[in-house]
Symmetry: C2
Subunit: 135 residues, 2 copies
DNA sequence: TTTTTACTTTAGAATTATTATAAACTAGAA
DNA sequence: TTCTAGTTTATAATAATTCTAAAGTAAAAA
């Protein structure tokens, strides 16, 4: 992902390219594999990787703007913190409760043979499969 | 569910049958269909149904004791509040984002044909299917 | 280039859900 | 009935997140 693409992500999220936002965008989007994170973990990573200072509110605001623009998704994990996901495709997860780690499962790796029909007046938006792991 | 069964639920959770606990247990377990709730919604229901007063801490403590004893389960729902479930069997859910309502899906109504194998050293504990609804 | 404007960062306050505390109360044993 | 361990409760504390408003900055206007 080039600098111009980073700027595109910011613009399409309605965000001016400030120092903080560019650092956050680079950290989140200049990678090959999926990154699952909480605001707290992102803050720690940013503190290590960059010299720039980040107010917590800036991280929250930026992450939410990316989510709203569709550049990040949210994953439901048991617990109090919100988890975000750089993988915005329709996909599933393994969840390791011991390590609180999420692992992506591509949609093609799960085939559902039978599923109930939606309640009256409703339609199915999407199906999420969550596989809990143990040792 | 008879009075004796309610007392059994309390005893097996290590709880003395106090006025508050009996009311909570009756409200949660004297029903046919599944009840999905947050501590806040349970508090509101109890306020309507009974004359007894409940400190929030008592509701939290009692619900957690029931969960620990296996009489309640927890469901992961997007959002900040913890959802509990009187259905303790292995089952799945529809989730209506408009109304924040959960609907049970019996395990037999979902058949999964293909699923990835667990990462090295790990085993699959259980598989949860979450079907998001739209209008 | 300067000036101006609107947007942004930030520290700290506020809010929300939950958990902890410790004093007053009570079920059940003795 | 008395005693004891367990319970309820109001309130304080904590944790995650959101809000606020003052000081700072990017980009448009002059
Ligand atoms: Mn969650
Ligand atoms: Mn949740
Ligand atoms: Zn993912
Ligand atoms: Zn359920």
């Amino acid at each position: 992902m080039k600098k111009e693409d980073i700027l595109k992500k910011l613009r399409s999220s309605g965000l001016r390219p400030t120092k903080q936002r560019v650092e956050i965008a680079k950290f989140l989007f200049e990678r090959d594999k999926t990154f699952h994170f909480t605001v707290e973990s992102l803050e720690n990573h940013l503190a290590k990787k960059t010299t720039c200072k980040f107010a917590l509110a800036t991280i929250y605001n930026t992450v939410h703007a990316f989510k709203k623009a569709g550049h990040l998704s949210e994953v439901d994990v048991r617990g109090k913190k919100t988890y975000f996901d750089t993988n915005i495709t329709d996909h599933h997860h393994f969840y390791d409760n011991e390590t609180s780690e999420l692992i992506d499962i591509d949609a093609s790796e799960v085939v559902i043979q039978k599923i109930p029909k939606a309640p009256n007046g409703k339609k199915i938006k999407n199906v999420e499969v969550f596989i809990n792991l143990k040792n």
